[in-house]
């Protein structure tokens, strides 16, 4: 995993400036670059470099699949340590799994694998959950969001 010291001040400014609000116009990179005081080619080169180094996981539109008639659902599993690698491979192989994180509790929570299912239709979630349970042999806890509270979506670069 790369650390913050592998990005320079210009990279930081790009990340801070471009977490949202990327222009929709003929030359959007040129417009964004001029706001940052750099050239279009430099911005394109730096974005590609940060994607290659995995400083950025993506550059582009972030979709709210619920607004397209689909669903995003948080799910958790309690995976025994001895079975960990097998279950990671089983779960990650599903295209419906958008993110997957290993987590450890401050207390005694036994759920150690947390993933988000994203499907194009709402009933796709149930099918994906059933398929993951069958393939892994472990039960899946689903925690759909009942309500989302407003948050400011940006994180300033640290370190």
């Amino acid at each position: 995993m790369r650390e913050a010291d592998e990005i320079d001040d210009t990279d930081r400014a790009i990340i801070d400036h471009l977490q949202g609000g990327f222009p929709i116009c003929e030359r959007p990179y040129a417009q964004a670059a001029s706001e940052l005081g750099i050239g279009e080619e430099e911005l394109l080169r730096r974005l590609q470099g940060m994607l290659d180094r995995r400083v950025l996981t993506r550059f582009g539109p972030l979709f709210q699949v619920e607004r397209m008639g689909g669903a995003f659902v948080l799910a958790a599993m309690s995976v025994p340590a001895a079975d960990w690698q097998r279950v990671v491979e089983v779960v990650n192989a599903f295209p419906e799994v958008a993110h997957n994180y290993r987590r450890e509790s401050e207390r005694d929570c036994r759920f150690n694998m947390w993933f988000v299912l994203a499907t194009e239709t709402a009933d796709g979630i149930g099918r994906a959950v059933q398929a993951i349970e069958e393939a892994s042999g472990l039960p899946v806890l689903t925690l759909p969001k009942l309500r989302e509270y407003f948050v400011e979506m940006k994180l300033a670069v640290r370190g």
Binding site: L18, L47, G60, P61, V65, L143
Partner: protein, 160 residues
């Protein structure tokens, strides 16, 4: 498929879910690929942004790589009748990046309020969780689940 989305919108989602082309005229390149005018690509993206199908267009940083090496999902068991009030209050904190009301799944899962907290260290995350605890009331049972590894982070992939 939602009424807000037609077949061309869906093709636009498929063409951009992996990222926007890193070329000088990205919307024109998408237009060529989809065989529609560039003006239509831009008009459709603007509409999808306005109606919330697109949350935002921009960079998605890897939290670890930009210095947030500690990521804690704080989970709280709060009274259902106070969930919206507390959710709005906690979501407003500048260090909370996601805040949701989710169902309890008793007996396995007793928590109904989720607030994601990022920091440069676990100590910083714990200090922020303590701020939430003051707002929520220290009587509310809670836990913090720290991320110890990103196993996958591709985002939405439909149509495969």
């Amino acid at each position: 498929m939602n009424a807000d989305i037609d077949g061309t919108d869906r093709r636009l989602v498929l063409a951009t879910q992996g990222g926007l082309p890193l070329v000088a005229r990205p919307y024109h390149q998408l237009a060529d690929r989809l065989d529609i005018p560039a003006e239509e690509v831009m008009a459709r993206l603007s509409r999808l942004l306005a109606n919330g199908v697109i949350r935002r267009i921009g960079a998605v940083p890897n939290h670890y790589a930009i210095g947030y090496t500690a990521n804690g999902m704080s989970v709280w068991d709060v009274p259902d009748e106070r969930i919206d009030e507390l959710g709005a209050t906690v979501g407003r904190l500048d260090f909370v990046t996601h805040c949701y009301y989710r169902p309890r799944r008793l007996p396995h899962w007793p928590y109904n309020l989720f607030a994601m907290v990022h920091g440069v260290s676990r100590a910083e995350v714990r200090a922020k969780v303590a701020v939430i605890a003051e707002l929520v009331g220290s009587a509310s049972p809670h836990d913090v689940l720290f991320s110890t590894g990103i196993l996958k982070k591709t985002g939405l992939r439909i149509g495969r």
